[in-house]
């Protein structure tokens, strides 16, 4: 059992849980001055979490290059679009 649990997969899960807690900490609506910077942190942390899931849990890290490029492009496009929309709302 220890061979199963003592693995990169378990480390990735711990990082994902810690990152989720960081994101909750950033989402403090009582401090509006932090929100513009906070939004960048929240979306960036979400993007890092998604990349960890895709590349480690889904094992895309060992997939052919076009698939790795597709998922990185998807992640970049989605994160960019979300931040663009958020910034447009602040303007």
């Amino acid at each position: 059992m220890s061979r199963l649990l003592l693995s990169t997969t378990s480390l990735v899960w711990i990082v994902l849980i810690v990152a989720t807690c960081i994101n909750i900490g950033m989402a403090d609506e009582s401090r509006p001055a932090l929100m513009a910077f906070g939004a960048v942190v929240i979306v960036s942390v979400a993007a890092i979490k998604i990349r960890l899931v895709i590349f480690h849990f889904m094992e895309i890290a060992g997939a052919p290059l076009p698939w790795r490029l597709f998922f990185d492009a998807w992640l970049l496009a989605v994160s960019g679009a979300v931040l663009h929309g958020y910034r447009a709302g602040l303007a």
Binding site: S10, I17, A27, E29, A81
Partner: protein, 194 residues
């Protein structure tokens, strides 16, 4: 022979079938368009969205994120266990993954009930339309995924999979991880970004 196996393992390879990956690419792209439509509509009607977002509970979204991340982790462990021919450990991990997924569904039911009791429906404005459509379509994905995982768990118990034959399980796992990573973006989008 040993060299051929090592060479085969080091070759770039997608786990599972190409069909499920084509679906994942199309489905995640569709959600990407939903996300963009949401943020652009939010930018145009910011006061309405900010007021509506006051009803969103960080807690239920946070618990559901922990449940899906843990479920995804357990599915990844199950696949790894089958590769090591640890079929009993794999069955336990997959069973626990299904339990976490069911927990997500229960929290989601309470959340929807809370919204409906408070008088919020799809017709209560653009925010709630996006909220119910995005989380509703995602919840359907969760229910489909749970059914697939439960069937795979049963197959595991019957010895259908082994380290030499697990493409079906890998496909099911890949689908479930997609359900997980889509939620990882939905949570900040609807609940945290205000």
């Amino acid at each position: 022979m040993a060299n051929e196996i090592v060479a085969e393992r080091s070759m770039p390879k997608l786990p599972g079938s190409i069909g499920i990956w084509t679906f994942i690419a199309a489905d995640s792209s569709m959600f990407g368009f939903f996300f963009y439509a949401y943020v652009m509509d939010r930018a145009a009607k910011l006061p309405e969205f900010l007021a509506a977002q006051q009803s969103m509970s960080f807690v239920s979204g946070f618990i559901n994120t922990l449940l899906l991340l843990t479920s995804s982790y357990l599915v990844a462990l199950a696949v790894r266990a089958v590769r090591l021919d640890r079929l009993r450990a794999a069955t336990v991990a997959l069973g626990l993954a299904v339990a976490c997924g069911l927990g997500f569904v229960v929290v989601k039911i309470f959340e929807y009930a809370d919204k409906l009791v408070a008088g919020h429906s799809m017709l209560s404005g653009d925010f709630y339309m996006f909220y119910f459509i995005i989380t509703g379509i995602h919840a359907v994905h969760v229910l489909v995924g749970l059914t697939i995982l439960a069937v795979n768990c049963w197959w595991l118990g019957r010895g259908v999979y082994s380290s030499r034959s697990l493409a079906g399980l890998e496909s099911a796992a890949s689908y479930w991880h997609m359900v997980d990573f889509l939620w990882v973006m939905i949570f900040p989008l609807l609940y945290l970004l205000r």
